[in-house]
Amino acid sequence: MSTTVENIQQQISENPILIYMKGTPQLPQCGFSAQTVQALMACGERFAFVNVLDNPDIRAELPKVANWPTFPQLWLNGELVGGCDIVVEMYQNGELEKLVKDAAAKQQDDA
């Protein structure tokens, strides 16, 4: 049986566009998660998400793995991009869409 940390590492390595959030993209349970996933959806690419409210083990362990204490967390190509403040700012200045498109293109190449 794999540990929570191994699960997290696998999720991060297998999903080039991945958001850990409270709630779901359709029904976020926190304003910070809502704003972040909205910016991500506006980039128009498919992405993976994990609802940490349904996964208390991930909610407890990921902050240590990521060196990031709160949610949401956006991961692109295996790297932590940041939480709500960073993602929204990058969306507004156009950087986020570029990074997300690059990650999506990489996903296609690998498939």
Binding site: G23, Q29, C30, G31, F32, Q35, W68, C84, D85
Partner: protein, 103 residues
């Protein structure tokens, strides 16, 4: 000392040229006079050449005790003096609550 004052004290170690710590707890699903949700705006030359994710990690590390304890949400807006000037001294608003803070 209030949590808010404690956060301010710790962040002063970054030699900020601008620092505000705002208690936004009243906008969330918590009892009155709570100190759970904060917004920090900090301008420091120490952030020059540092990626946003690293700036945040540095702030989180300084406030690890508060985050492990009473503080539930911490919005961070770290800028260099040049970035702050370019923004005209404005920081973004925090999002509205969706009621899930105790979930």
């Amino acid at each position: 000392m209030s949590i808010q004052a404690q956060i301010e004290e710790k962040l002063k170690t970054l030699s900020p040229t601008w620092l505000t710590v705002e208690n936004e707890s009243h906008r969330h699903n918590v009892p009155a006079d709570s100190e759970t949700h904060f917004k920090v705006t900090l301008v420091s030359a120490r952030f020059e050449g540092m990626m946003p994710v690293k700036r945040h990690q540095q702030l989180y590390a300084l406030l690890a005790d508060e985050l492990a304890g009473p503080v539930h949400a911490l919005a961070l807006h770290p800028y260099t003096p040049d970035e702050w000037q370019a923004r005209g001294g404005q920081r973004p608003d925090s999002p509205d609550c969706r009621g899930g803070s105790e979930a």
